[in-house]
């Protein structure tokens, strides 16, 4: 695989993760347990979807279709998001745990990409990094608070962590061109990212009284990066593209 094809693959998985988690975050708009949380998830949705658009623009510069076409006209098997981000929002415990696991990975991903040899990506990474810092702070505050709340809140968070864990490991599914990205200094690669992620989240979860499943139970759920998805993605896409499908020229 040449470096442009490898780069495109990297960009697609980043943008698709952001678009889909952004859409899921937006599902809390109007439903958040308290007003501030409603606003927080809505703001993070806006950040993620905005970021995805800029990554799709980078893909457009590399010859792919424009952002709207790419975002609104593909079906599930053409998406490269991890299965973690497409799972339904569930209860607030699951949404917070997913937010924690996803955003720390994304924070570290963009930290690494700040020094990418592909300049346009390094430039947006610097910008996104500062924004995602707020997402990780939000996630950690709530995980810590509910981990220490009472037996019920801790139990719910632990149960969600257990459920989300193997999906979260699936975020680091190695692509077919990891070696190209690493040799060309475009990206550090999924294996190195996963190591960094474990190093950062392990002490934070411990401080929150939550236990990472024992290593013998780790079975990463891969497939998302190759277009294999859960039954939850297509309904999300159908909803997200409803207006576009009715009128592709709609504007406001």
């Amino acid at each position: 695989m040449d470096s442009i094809a490898a780069l495109k693959e990297l960009l697609y998985k980043i943008a698709d993760d952001q678009l889909i988690i952004g859409h899921r975050n937006s599902e809390w708009t109007g439903l958040g347990p308290i007003l501030e949380e409603d606003i927080a998830f809505s703001s993070m949705a806006q950040d993620k979807i905005g970021q995805s658009e800029h990554i799709y623009n980078l893909l457009h510069q590399l010859g792919e279709a424009d952002a709207d076409t790419v975002a609104f006209t593909r079906n599930a098997p053409q998406f490269h998001c991890s299965q973690l981000v497409e799972l339904p929002i569930g209860g607030y415990d699951f949404s917070l745990i997913r937010h924690f696991l996803f955003d720390f990975a994304e924070y570290l991903r963009f930290e690494a990409l700040k020094t990418s040899a592909y300049q346009p990506l390094a430039q947006v990474a610097k910008k996104f990094f500062g924004e995602i810092k707020y997402h990780t702070m939000h996630a950690n505050t709530w995980v810590h608070q509910l981990g220490h709340g009472n037996g019920e809140s801790n139990g719910k968070m632990q149960e969600s962590l257990n459920y989300a864990w193997n999906y979260a490991l699936g975020m680091f599914e190695p692509g077919p061109a990891e070696d190209v990205l690493i040799t060309e200094n475009i990206f550090i690669g999924e294996t190195a990212l996963r190591e960094q992620w474990l190093e950062v989240i392990t002490p934070l979860l411990e401080k929150s009284n939550l236990v990472i499943p024992s290593q013998s139970e780790w079975a990463p759920i891969y497939g998302g990066r190759k277009g294999e998805h859960t039954e939850h993605l297509q309904p999300l896409l159908s909803e997200m593209t409803e207006v576009y499908t009715i009128d592709p020229t709609a504007d406001w």
Binding site: E36, I39, A40, S42, S43, M44, Q46, D47, K48, I49, G50, Q51, E53, H54, P120, Q123, V124, K126, K127, F128, G130, E131, K133, Y134, M137, H138, T141
Partner: protein
């Protein structure tokens, strides 16, 4: 011939649509102004937030504003991440303008943002630092929510971005 300095001065009349007291120049998002020999002007903007919905509106406002100057040629506006926007790019005048809108200006030199840093943000009404941060997310992407324990007022802050 027009100069970039002149254009920068004139762009002070273009205000942030979400905080209309601050100009886009004082907000620090005008990162490049090129003027050609026949007075064509090319302005480069850098986004405050990747998902900021006002960005495209500001591009149009720059085009429209400069378009009204008869001596200028073609006006083009580009958005680029080449310069990363941080709140340290906001000018001292910008800080005053933010206060005028009732928002607490962002703290300076915030390359490492922490939750603690957002605590004790001075209240824009009574200037007390006895305040608590309620949420790092507010009604727009650039704002956080605070409460002043001194004058018992809820207020919003322009949050630091490093």
């Amino acid at each position: 011939m027009t100069t970039p300095k002149y254009i920068r001065q004139e762009l002070k009349q273009v205000k942030d649509p979400e905080i209309p007291t601050i100009s886009i120049v004082d907000l620090g998002i005008v990162t490049g102004i090129d003027v050609s020999e026949n007075n064509d002007v090319h302005v480069t903007l850098t986004p405050t937030f990747a998902g900021c919905p006002a960005l495209r509106m500001m591009e149009d406002m720059v085009k429209e504003h400069l378009g009204s100057y008869e001596q200028l040629g073609t006006i083009t506006v580009e958005t680029s991440f080449a310069t990363t926007w941080t709140t340290d790019l906001i000018t001292p005048e910008g800080h005053e303008a933010i206060k005028k809108h009732g928002l607490a200006p962002p703290k300076r030199n915030c390359s490492n943002i922490t939750m603690d840093l957002l605590e004790a943000t001075p209240c824009p009404y009574c200037e007390s630092s006895d305040t608590s941060m309620k949420s790092p997310f507010g009604p727009t992407l650039c704002r956080s929510l605070h409460y002043c324990n001194n004058c018992k007022q809820a207020f919003e802050g322009f949050k630091p971005v490093g």
